[in-house]
Symmetry: C2
Subunit: 229 residues, 2 copies
């Protein structure tokens, strides 16, 4: 059984006019309407309220932990030496528990310079503490039933066959990352909206009809996912 | 002619025991010894002293600029509206000028969760303002003579033919990024050290001899580059 909790992360630096924020909000509204008042919707704005980047003490505690294998969270906390390590763990543990408790993880990811935003990367580094996404007893992935919806928004075009397809270090990256932390391939859903900067960038102006098609397809995909997740 | 200035960026979160920091320091020491006291060595620690992540006003100014094409830096500054945009530009411009002035850019990049660190991504986002790496008159790339040395350090193995080769979103990413901002392929040098966590991670313990080989090869490559760049 998965929990009826939606963990919703936005990472666009633009509070208004952001396509990724509009699409995640569309998913969240439909999801809330469907699951009712008992369902929990947790939202983090990783741009306005960034997760503190991991520091040296996080790495030190991570290495000490990793040498011991997969540990329960309480045991990791007891391994922390000194106030810096305790502080790094105090910043990380709630975010790790929040991710583990989510039935559905919704991520708004604009592409900045061919990959994810700094804010999303800071969250990824913070929640990817050694061993915490696997069962200490069995080694089984704790996120195998978690549904992940990635809303990947790109100013240009990076689809298969386009000249910049090889420059997409966003969607293939997030697929590899979520596979690594144990999310099942059948539970990872990627919705892309492309060419969202077509109106702003002179060289892309002629592609505005394709941009509109891409956005409409993304909205339809969001609606379809929100009706069944 | 390229300038005799070395811009040296480190991004490992570990101040001590960092392989990437040791390798960039090795390059910088050899480079300084060769170029003498007149050469300038600028160093930024992107982990201890992070570049502030770009914010909404950076994006707003960037879009306004992009609609006008490639502009001189002074003109971009004049386009800034309000204190937030002026502040974002004041944070960006010195870093952009510093990059443009460098004859050689040296980057220490540890792989964290399959890609670059949060600190390095924050720098990338900050210096990649629309148009600033191309000549407003001719459109020619301003960084075409800049030598770039990327020291890519990975805890595991991601080389060709290894099981996780497809998870390397660090080196191919940085190659695509520097190509995009106009660095010539023949001036981009990537030195990798792999399996640097072999002693810490039980599953990798048997690979320690390979790790030692990889580090020795990286040191030799650094020495060779420092003798000619």
């Amino acid at each position: 059984m998965t929990s009826t909790t939606l963990l919703h992360l936005d990472s666009s630096i633009s509070p208004s006019g952001s396509v990724s924020r509009a699409l995640t909000a569309r998913f969240a509204a439909a999801w809330r309407a469907r699951h009712g008042v008992a369902a929990r919707h947790r939202h983090h704005d990783l741009a306005a309220d960034p997760v503190p980047p991991v520091r040296a003490a996080y790495d030190a505690l991570g290495r000490r932990t990793e040498r011991k294998g997969i540990l329960p969270l309480d045991d990791i906390g007891r391994l922390a030496e000194g106030p810096d390590e305790a502080h790094e763990w105090a910043l990380s543990r709630p975010l790790i528990e929040e991710l583990r408790a989510a039935g559905t993880l919704l991520i708004g990811s604009p592409m900045y310079n061919y990959t994810v935003s700094t804010g999303l990367k800071a969250w990824i580094d913070r929640v990817t503490f050694p061993g915490v996404h696997h069962d200490p007893e069995t080694g089984a992935p704790l996120l195998r039933d978690t549904r992940v919806v990635v809303v990947a928004v790109r100013g240009g075009g990076y689809g298969p066959g386009t000249p910049r397809a090889h420059c997409d270090f966003q969607v293939p990256y997030l697929r590899a990352y979520f596979d690594r932390i144990g999310v099942a391939a059948e539970h990872l859903h990627v919705v892309t909206a492309e060419l969202t900067r077509a109106a702003d960038i002179p060289a892309l102006n002629a592609l505005q009809p394709l941009a509109a098609e891409s956005l409409a397809a993304a909205e339809a995909a969001i609606d379809e996912l929100a009706a069944r997740l």
